[in-house]
């Protein structure tokens, strides 16, 4: 079986100040702190009668860059919504930075930054007003936010709806990072971006990750991006976690003889990979 996942995730590509998660040999994957930023246990969620997430377990180590990958419709966005308290699970336990998002959404979002797949800022709001609102709500000087936006050539007088898709994503990221969150949640933020916009966004993200201890959880079905950004990966398939664990361990292990792409695609087996989660998680521990 040929390896389709190349190691584009060279540690050299990542900032030297990254936590131990990148410097360790796939042993200490808790980002060096041993803490867990996100813990999901037996989480089940449905849209009406249609099951979306079915009894999933997930641990996101603090300081890690955790990618949740899967094909369209496997529940990545729903998982993000649940993590942010935008929806409530039907069953199971969910803890984000020690809080239940369904119960403590307002407190939780003070410590996290979120960029959703589709921009949600009002199209008629100017970037200046968005900066002012974010600054007031998150106790951040408005000038700081404006500087962030200006650095990426985002015109403060423009209305959000007038921006390109890439610019909207950049605005979303900068506003999400404005409050210095401990956890950054990105729901496929690069979807639909052109090459330049995508590169800029990745650059901004890597820069932020390099500057401080930030846990990042992002969803994607772009494995190249996963290879570039992630330290940990969870593969969602059929509403369940097909595999999860440190990326390097997952790349090395191949205990079941399948590549990440194959796991993602579900080839070779219809059910979640038996033991892979164990094996990879075990490899991480």
């Amino acid at each position: 079986m040929s390896r389709t996942i190349e190691s584009g995730i060279e540690p050299a590509n990542l900032p030297a100040t990254r936590p131990a998660v990148f410097s360790a040999e796939g042993v200490d994957r808790d980002g060096g702190s041993g803490e867990t930023a996100v813990r999901v246990s037996g989480l089940t969620f449905r849209y009406g009668r249609r099951p979306v997430l079915d009894d999933i377990d997930l641990d996101v180590p603090a300081g890690s860059s955790y990618a949740v990958v899967g094909r369209n419709g496997v529940g990545k966005t729903s998982l993000v919504h649940l993590l942010c308290g935008l929806r409530s699970p039907e069953r199971g336990e969910l803890t984000v930075l020690g809080r239940d998002p369904a119960l403590h959404r307002a407190q939780l979002v003070e410590e996290i930054g979120v960029v959703l797949e589709r921009p949600t800022a009002p199209p008629d709001a100017t970037l200046a007003s968005l900066a002012r609102l974010t600054g007031t709500l998150r106790d951040v000087p408005v000038d700081t936010i404006c500087s962030r936006l200006a650095r990426w050539d985002l015109p403060l007088g423009s209305r959000f709806g007038e921006l390109s898709r890439g610019q909207q994503g950049q605005v979303g990221l900068q506003l999400a990072l404005a409050g210095a969150p401990r956890l950054l949640v990105l729901d496929d933020p690069f979807l639909g971006l052109d090459v330049v916009a995508r590169a800029e966004l990745v650059e901004a993200l890597i820069e932020e990750m390099a500057q401080r201890d930030l846990t990042v959880l992002f969803t994607s079905h772009d494995l190249d991006l996963v290879h570039r950004l992630a330290t940990h990966v969870a593969v969602l398939r059929g509403g369940r976690v097909a595999a999860s664990g440190p990326l390097d361990a997952m790349l090395r292990a191949e205990s079941d003889g399948r590549s990440l792409e194959e796991i993602l695609a579900g080839s070779g087996a219809d059910e979640p990979v038996a033991g892979s989660q164990h094996a990879m998680t075990g490899g991480g521990t």
């Binding site: 935008l86 979120v114 609102l133």
Partner: protein, 659 residues
């Protein structure tokens, strides 16, 4: 404080986003003078209407788009991902929409208000209109949000919302007829207002919950809304039911006797003037057995006119209600079925009215200042035919058993005259229809009789006299100083001089005031006089049948609450000074008058088949002051059946007043 500052931040953000909508108000303000100039319409009204339409329309649209559409497409996440209480989102959006709408309204009025300074009288905008507009905008915002929530989400909860609202409406409307028969429209109105208020409160609660619970899940949000709306509706319905049950059955302690009972002559109905201080005021109608049957929201002291037979209807003139302000309504109650109808009564308060014995028609006499006469209604304009002009006319309408009516009045001044006219106008009582039915006009037949009252010029705070029809075509006229019994032609048959008739009590000026007059049945008169004794002020209960005063009995008290005559017993109710302000009787006197020969044909017993009953509670153990009289004093007044033949109290039916 932090939450408030964050709420204000969102409010400012939303206002800035939507500030362009204010241009709508500016345009309306500029358009109004042009339209006024083109159409000639009053500028103030036009500007207010235009501004209100723009503002309310904007408010409605902003309400519709407050959060439900964003919830449906997920864009509400923008605010939900901010460190804000979820409730702040609908609150901020609602406030924004209201402020934008009110701003539009004021901007629309601004040019007009500026023009008003140039003496353009039709440019004035009443303050009430400003307030109405300012209140209409938040209401429109709220309505828009409700519409969006109930209809916009398009899920199964919409059916439940509509079903819950329909259910409560149907149940409430189902209660209305029974309440109407009790004369409790005012109470029903209050209950309905309460239900609407609680429903709106529940809806507002539901809208907040739709965001806080549903977040970006519109279906879950709608479920939260429906649960709260339905809960509020059920609570409102339960509260309204309890309230209506309570109001329609006021506790006995809440009722106070306002006078002596009156009775029908052909059936066991009696009118006991019990007044509830709460939701309805008016006399109670009791059947024999004293179960409470009907109460009426009657104010103004008109009370129930109980026709002689009293089998069909009891008309009430001039009903009014603090809630509905239903001036000039005529209520007709069918005593057998309990059905109650209400008719539009011509404007004005009849000076005298009298129902026919069968309760099907009512005679009425209207007065205007010093003119009195039977009106004729034409195109809703009342004119008085053959007005009787006089100085201080006192009128009394009398219904005759033969179906004709006669009106008598007393004209006083330098000379006082008792006059009669036959053929008082009759009006059919609209038992089955609310339609007004003018009847034939009165035919005046002249006047008869003349009585001089030389003493009437002396100062007196009360009414100069009241006429009562006695049997044998006689009338008794009570004056401050005497009773004069006259025949049909006005000739004096006999007088009871030197008697101060009726009860006396203090009026607001502290002077004496007379209550009522003599009670009459058949040939017999019963009256109260006031006397000052060593024990203080007392009432004396008198009776006569032929001009000769019979023995009297003393009743300590300060306020007379009336007297009645029942099967040979005179019953008076007086109150001591300490309860006078409550008009709660605490003394009951019963004067047995065995020597009087009651003609039961003309004065049938008040309580139907049990002629020996009276209906005031008598405290056992108190000896009569005179051996041949049943006189008792009581501390607490209640209504009981008293069988004079068998003994004292048989059953307590109806307590009034307080212990």
């Amino acid at each position: 404080m932090r939450s408030i500052s964050r709420l204000l931040a969102v409010l400012r953000f939303e206002l800035v986003r939507r500030r362009r909508l204010l241009l709508g108000g500016v345009l309306a303000g500029l358009l109004a003078p042009l339209l006024a100039w083109a159409t000639g319409a009053p500028l103030g009204v036009l500007a207010a209407s235009l501004g209100l339409a723009v503002a309310a329309g904007t408010g409605l649209l902003l309400g519709i788009h407050a959060f439900v559409p964003e919830q449906l497409d997920g864009r509400l996440a923008f605010l939900l991902l901010q460190p804000l209480p979820a409730a702040a989102i609908p609150l901020a959006r609602g406030l924004t929409a209201s402020l934008i709408g009110i701003g539009q309204y004021l901007l629309a009025l601004l040019p007009t208000l500026a023009l008003a300074d140039f003496a353009t009288t039709d440019a004035s905008v009443p303050f009430e209109v400003l307030v109405l507009g300012a209140a209409a905008v938040p209401a429109a915002v709220f309505l828009g949000s409700l519409l969006a929530m109930v209809l916009g989400t398009r899920d199964r909860w919409t059916v439940l919302d509509l079903a819950a609202m329909a259910f409560v409406t149907v149940v409430l409307l189902g209660l209305a007829p029974s309440l109407d028969s009790l004369g409790l429209e005012a109470v029903f109105g209050l209950a309905a207002i309460g239900v609407v208020f609680l429903a709106l409160l529940g809806a507002a609660w539901g809208l907040v919950a739709a965001v806080s619970r549903g977040r970006i899940d519109a279906r879950r949000g709608h479920r939260a809304f429906t649960a709260r709306l339905a809960s509020a509706l059920l609570v409102a319905l339960a509260a309204a039911s309890l309230f209506l049950a309570w109001a329609s059955s006021p506790p006995s302690g809440a009722l106070a006797v306002g006078g002596a009972a009156r009775t029908a002559t052909g059936n066991p109905w009696i009118v006991l003037p019990l007044f509830s201080p709460y939701w309805h005021e008016g006399p109670e109608l009791l059947r024999q057995g004293y179960e409470r049957s009907h109460a009426f929201p009657v104010a103004g002291g008109k009370g129930v006119a109980l026709p002689g037979e009293a089998r069909r209807a009891v008309p009430l003139a001039d009903s009014s209600s603090v809630v509905w302000l239903a001036d000039g309504a005529l209520h007709v109650l069918d005593l057998e079925t309990g059905q109650r109808s209400r008719a539009a009564w011509p404007s004005g308060d009849p000076r005298a009215s009298s129902p026919s014995p069968d309760g099907r028609r009512i005679a009425a006499l209207f007065s205007s200042r010093d003119e009195h006469g039977v009106p004729r209604w034409s195109a809703e304009v009342r004119s008085v035919d053959d007005p009787v002009v006089g100085h201080r006319l006192e009128l009394e309408g009398v219904a005759r058993l033969d179906g004709e009516a006669r009106v008598e009045w007393l004209e006083h001044g330098p000379r006082f005259t008792v006059a009669q006219e036959e053929g008082l106008a009759w009006f059919d009582l609209p038992v089955a229809s609310d339609a007004e039915r003018p009847d034939r006009e009165m035919a005046a037949t002249g006047r008869a009789g003349r009585i001089d009252f030389p003493s009437l010029l002396r100062p007196w705070g009360g009414e100069p006299g009241v006429l009562h029809e006695l049997s044998g075509e006689r009338s008794a006229l009570s004056t401050p100083d005497e009773i004069v019994v006259v025949d049909r032609l006005g000739d004096v048959l006999w007088r009871l001089p030197s008697l101060r008739l009726g009860g006396l009590g203090p009026d607001s000026a502290g002077t004496k005031r007379r209550f009522g007059g003599p009670v009459w049945r058949g040939d017999h008169l019963l009256w109260l006089t006031l006397a000052w004794t060593r024990e203080g002020r007392t009432f004396e209960l008198h009776a006569t049948s032929d001009g000769e005063a019979v023995t009297t009995v003393a009743l300590p008290g300060w306020i007379s609450l009336g007297a009645t005559l029942a099967d040979g017993s005179g019953i008076a109710v007086v109150a001591p000074p300490d309860s006078s302000h409550e008009r709660t009787p605490t003394q009951v006197g019963v004067l047995r008058l065995p020597e009087l020969r009651l003609e039961l044909r003309d004065a049938p017993p008040p309580l139907g088949e049990t002629p020996h009953n009276a209906y005031f509670r008598l405290e056992p153990g108190v000896e009569p002051r005179q051996a041949d009289q049943q006189l008792v004093h009581v501390d607490v007044v209640a209504v009981v059946r008293v069988d004079f033949a068998a003994g004292f109290r048989q059953e307590v039916v109806f307590e009034t007043g307080s212990e």
